[in-house]
Amino acid sequence: MCAQPLVTLERVEKRFGNGPLVLDGIDLKVERGEFVSFIGPSGCGKSTLLRLIAGLTSPTNGEIVIDGMTPENARELMFFVFQDANLMPWRRVAENVELPLLLRGDPTARRAERVRHMLEIVGLSAAATKYPWQLSGGMRMRVSIARALSVAPEILLLDEPFGALDEMTRDQLNEDLLAIRGRDPFTGFFVTHSVPEAVFLSTRIVVLAANPGRVATVIDVPFAYPRGPELRETPEFLQLLAHTARALRAVRA
């Protein structure tokens, strides 16, 4: 009965000023509970696509509908995890996590409770009173994720959140992200350069081609959740990895 997809993009085009077309004819329907990764060569507009869904920039043509609303009006449902952790350097860890709750006017006691809960989930309870500069890159990203999830958004948009981290930290955070999602489900949009990351996290991978950015292939990822680190060693995973890498190579050529 609830046939309406949560997020719909129809013939979406984007061009900055009089520049070339960055995105062309993007059609995408995403159901509640999906986790969609955008992957593609540099300049394919995958970050722009994410920003369009977030309403941080508007499409030149076409339409984006989120739960029946424009992206700007649907902001309450969404939160964005930025490329660098994007924390306020003058606020302590707990204060950074608290910020979205503070801005929307939650009462103090509820904020404190929620912040405590979020820091526990990302394993940073001990770092609550530290400043961002005292944390490692991976920890900072955890704070950023805790902040984003503090408002329990229906849709989480992540713009290459783990791109700057080493592989071990990245794998760990991938697993943590799925674990969090198991407890607090959200619909995910994820921009990445990493094929293993995309395969590990997603229900669907959208491979984009560049100049102009357009959907080249959509790959379904059939693995059931919860997914643990052992998934990475299964033949099915490695097969899909190879398949996705091939699709990515094809758009590069």
Binding site: L56, F82, N86, P100, L103
Partner: protein, 261 residues
């Protein structure tokens, strides 16, 4: 510990050397005290004039403090207005520059005409000297807001007032405090120059600037030098307090202060 002691000892030894040089110069060139008083004569004069100098210091300190506070307060508010929109900044910034370029020696008589001799004019002169660095720096701070943090607040549906409170003001704080630091070094100088140009006296006692003129006209050179020492103390006290404030507000988070291991 040893290096701490040494770092204290070094300037002390250099000080003794300079004092020796001072006495030597006075002896070798046979300089009379009204040209170059010896350090002990300056000390004696300072003791003799202590009540006058103390009163003068208080008058100057009051002028410096009021002018400084006005410069910081008005500077901050003005910067907020200028930083609010590029159009307002483009319209009014040139005139603020004009004010800054106007020499104090010309402004001083104007202030005396408007406000009379004494404290109001001194405060106005100190303000004129100190407010520009505050405005220039703070405006820069309000304008150079982190773009990503702005987008974060956009995602949070923050109101403009929330953006000012939670992003613009804290983000501008390091810039503002740099301006405050500069204003802090200028304020005592401003108050003394202001006093020199527009000061007044009751019973022959005025501020540091006024006493400078008074001692000079009486050729009380040792007292004149003592006045200079008092001015130095006021300056150090002022700069020290402002640096302390700067440290207090930034040391926990700002790049310029935190220790990275």
């Amino acid at each position: 510990m040893k290096s701490r002691l040494l770092s204290l000892l070094q300037p002390l030894l250099a000080g003794f050397a300079l004092l020796g040089l001072w006495y030597a110069a006075k002896a070798v060139f046979n300089l009379p005290s009204f040209v170059l008083p010896s350090p002990d004569e300056i000390g004696a004069a300072a003791w003799e004039e202590r009540s006058t100098l103390w009163a003068a210091a208080m008058i100057t300190l009051r002028g410096a403090l009021l002018g400084f506070l006005a410069a910081v307060g008005v500077g901050f508010l003005l910067a907020m207005v200028l930083g609010f929109s590029p159009r307002i900044k483009a319209s009014f910034y040139p005139y603020i520059l004009v004010l800054q370029m106007m020499p104090v020696t010309i402004l001083a008589p104007v202030f005396v005409l408007w406000l009379g001799q004494g404290l109001p004019s001194i405060v106005a002169i100190t303000f004129m000297i100190g407010f520009f660095p505050v405005v220039a720096n703070t405006t820069m701070g309000f304008i150079s807001v982190d773009r990503n943090l702005r987008e974060l607040l956009l995602m949070c549906k923050a109101t403009p007032a929330q953006e000012v409170r939670y992003l613009r003001i804290p983000g501008a704080m390091p810039y503002f405090l740099t301006g405050v630091k500069i204003a802090g070094t200028l304020a005592p100088i401003g108050a003394i120059v202001g006093d020199f140009l527009a000061g007044s006296a009751t019973n022959g006692v005025g501020g540091i600037g006024y006493m400078t003129i008074s001692y000079f006209s009486q050729l009380k050179t040792p007292a004149l030098f003592a006045t200079g020492m008092v001015a130095c103390v006021i300056g150090f006290g002022f700069v020290g307090s402002v640096n302390l404030l700067h440290w207090r507000l930034l040391h926990s988070w700002h790049d310029s202060m935190v220790k990275k291991e």
